[in-house]
């Protein structure tokens, strides 16, 4: 095979590759078999984008400590809220931080009202009531969710927490849970 033939073959292969990539980018967002390829190209599943969020977990001395996390989210703020709360419930990756909720607590429904109030229903099959705790532990628990949502979702102004689908008098024996919580940044370690 002479050198010209090799050049022609290489040019053809390059053309096919460039054309293929162009076609894939042009059809970005298409679900199905292409999804995995697109995910490799963009780093996020089709129809989603990767965003960096700060999640808050209990740290030493009673503070909330931020943990940076990359999440795949859609444009729907409710999806972003679901992913954030899900990640908070899954627990921190840093070893010196603590879980906000015991294992087994799961996310139920999420509602984002037009006035910016987010309703988050947390569910547990084993605990009929929210975990009983000291006041700081309760505040760490509540504001790990509230601050993680309000700090990362522009539309979320305040957060109402429900337990097993029902609004509770408090969320552990201290804080008034009958009204939505606004963010409390004072718990976050500086």
């Amino acid at each position: 095979m002479n050198r010209t033939a090799v050049k022609v073959i290489l040019a053809a292969v390059a053309l096919v590759l460039v054309g293929g990539i162009a076609w894939l980018v042009a059809t970005r967002g298409t679900r199905g078999g292409l999804g995995g390829v697109i995910e490799q190209l963009t780093g996020a599943p089709a129809g989603t984008e990767k965003v960096m969020v700060l999640l808050y977990f209990a740290g030493p001395g009673g503070y909330l400590v931020p943990e940076r996390r990359e999440l795949n989210v859609t444009a729907d703020p409710k999806d972003r809220i679901r992913k954030i709360v899900g990640a908070v419930l899954d627990g921190p990756r840093q070893r010196d931080l603590g879980r906000s909720f015991p294992k087994g607590v799961e996310l139920g429904s999420v509602l984002l009202a037009a006035n910016g109030t987010v309703y988050v229903d947390l569910r547990s099959e084993t605990m009929t009531e929210p975990p009983s705790a000291g006041s700081l532990e309760e505040m760490q628990r509540v504001f790990s969710v509230v601050d993680s949502i309000t700090g990362n979702v522009e539309q979320a102004q305040r957060v109402a927490l429900l337990w097993n689908g029902i609004q509770r008098e408090s969320f552990g024996g201290h804080l008034d849970a009958s009204r939505p919580f606004v963010a409390d940044r004072s718990l976050i370690a500086q």
Binding site: A58, S109, N115, G134, S135, Q167, V182, S186
Partner: protein, 539 residues
Amino acid sequence: MISQRSPAPLLLFALLLPVLLGAQAEAPPRPSSVTLEGQEIAAQVVVGPAGPLVALAPVAEALGAKLVPGEGGSYQLQVGEAQVVLAAGSPVVTVGSDIVSLSQPVTPGPGGILVPVDLLRKTFGDLSGYTFDWLPEQSRLAISRRQAKQVPVFIDVVHLQGTTTVVLQFPEAPRYKIDQQPGRIEVRMLGDRLAPSLPPRIEDPLVEGVDATPDRVALRLLRGATAESYTLENPFRIVFDVHRPGQTTAPIAGAPTPGVDRPGIRTIVIDPGHGGVETGAIGPSGVREKDLTLLLAQALASRLAERLGVRTLLTRSGDAVLGLDARAAIANQNKADLFVSIHLNSSLGAGAHGAETYFLANRATDPRAASAAEAENATPGGLATDADPAALQDLQLMLWDLAQSRYLAQSQQLANLIQGELNQALELKDRGVKQAPFRVLMGAAMPAVLVELGFISNPDEEKKLQEAPYRARLVESLIAAITRYKEQVEGRPETPAASAPAAGAPALQTVPPAAGSPPAAGAPPAAAPAPQAPGKPGR
């Protein structure tokens, strides 16, 4: 010749006969229906195991409201002044600023969304005076207008320390809404009719007059006066505190002025935190908060009675569950002059230790509420009539129904004294005086604090808290602080810097409120030492 036919068919027929007869006797299923004052409405009803679900749109239309699709699959419904937001699949809805849990989730149906009857009761029932009766034997939802009942109301007006307090007292909570216009506030009945007592003759620097009709009670405010409202229970009262912006409305901490009917500290209610299945925090060795708070509270109550000659009451004397609202109600019903809730703390992270004392923080501390507060203060008459709807909604949130709101300065004063004594007497880390929206403090119509006497989650403090001599020292610190507070309130000769922490105690940390958390109406005046921001851990 006798035939030898098999008896099997006969036996089978005998067995099936009751079933066949039963099937014949059973009436065909009656179609479900909805009626308004006896007239049928074309509204779908689906009866499931958890009860009936009713098509909302036709019912709303028949009752004069309209269901409007909103964003993201949600729906909005305007019932009277309240906006109702609901979404298919969700078991909660918002009615105005309230969250309402439903017996069944909102369900999509072929003709629109279906809702449980309790949603109708909580919206059209509570706000528009309709009754909704599900009649299972007729498979019918009967809607009718509630018969208006006569509601007695007693009106009282008191002026004290630059604030005029107008109290509307009812034998039971009526259905009402509050309308505010410049210089005028109306409490309008929703369905019920007032039977008002004779309004008092008023000569007041802030309130021009109060008049009542069967439909409403109206307060006429003098120029520049603003009002905040809240409710009290047992009996139910709607209270308006009227003042002029810029005037001091609460006594300055350190120089408290006792109320007209409260010249001293005579009754103190001690609240042992948690109880029953609600254990509170549990220490590493299994020590339960509820057990130690009871021991501490019992000791405090008995020694306070001995030393100060005051009447002391415990909210619980055994290991029993008691709701947070009920604890404050016990204090209110017994006309307590102080409410002290005893707790032990816990933390999810390691290393937290020390004592801290809380008084109530109001909840309207987000930036939008702050802008609503600015709008309120900037508008003559104190009414944000030109503010945007969101600000007005937050303004409504600001008019919180907290009995505690008028005692914040005294509560802070007591919290300062307690924290100072704990710092002085014990080798505990000073976590400071803080504010938080603790439910147990909200309903207390007297100075009220919640004391966290150490971290049960900390092994060292858990061990100390199990030792009776150590608990006795904690109790002595609380007694010393309450004694000093009583002396200040009753005007006895006081040591210098009466409102400051006890001599030798480290100065309380003074920091501004958290970002976006400006002091709102009802917060202590600037002259009082500022508390730490809500929930801020000590360093």
